[in-house]
């Protein structure tokens, strides 16, 4: 999948991938990864996560990974 790391996690929040797919992870794990990556918590609200990443894209590219 040609997608950014955050998008990979968000897609798993949305259950875009079935179990067994190359890019599948349980949505609970995806949420944990997103929390760890950003230090934020928007629960399973994929749009809220996408919005956060759009707003924070500059700092993300500079390597600020949160907690």
């Amino acid at each position: 999948m040609r997608a950014t790391p955050d998008e990979l996690f968000i897609q798993n929040l949305e259950e875009a991938w079935p179990p067994g797919a190359l890019y599948y992870m349980p949505k609970e794990q995806a949420l944990e990864e997103l929390r760890h990556l950003t230090g934020e918590d928007f629960g399973y609200d994929a749009n809220a996560w996408r919005q956060w990443f759009r707003k924070n894209s500059v700092s993300r590219q500079k390597g600020k990974r949160g907690k």
């Binding site: 999948m1 998008e7 875009a16 991938w17 190359l22 590219q61």
Partner: protein, 231 residues
Amino acid sequence: MLSAIDTVWDVVDLYNDARDCLGDSDSMACYMAAAGVAFIAMGALEGPSNNVARRAAKAADVGDAAGDVARRVDAGDAAILRSVTYGNQRLFYDGARQQRALAIAQEAAQAAGVRLSDYVDDVVYTTGRAPFFGVVNDRRVLALNQATLRKTRAGQLIDSVHELSHARHSARFGYQNYRSLYFSSLSMRARIEILVESRAQRTVERYLGGLSPQQRGWTSRYLNWWGQYYP
């Protein structure tokens, strides 16, 4: 013995990937990524031979897109799959967009100097947010989406060669081994993504005789995104 031979060839293949990267402005990062993948792959591949792993992987993935076959067309004894639901996406096995996806994938294989059918059984159009490679209903699928179809020719080829590289790695390692490797850690995912994207960029650049600064910028941005997760 077979397992050992296969493993050696897998490592050779990955080092070839690394060699392929030489000449890139970011060649060292790419080389290190390839070396890291090869090192960990050696551990991951200890055990059953790749052929056994491939068979097991195929068996394990049967039913990924379980049921929900939208339409089947009888063609003699065989039933042709027209579209399936895959997670929250719809995969189309025919239609105008699928035909465009197929043409792009075929040109990507030509650019990469490989035969598409060696690595991919079906090229599909997906309604999903990203192009991908996977095994669906026991068949190796390369999926391109609307975003890919809207790109320039170079962008389309890079997307497609990127997924074809995943398919080639999957063929080498066995799908489940590759999946395990991919999800072993975020940094491993980053290594793999950097590797396949760098390879895609170089392949398409060679094939087209160059890339526009804009196209290079898009690829660099992708590499930078993943690069921050690469130790």
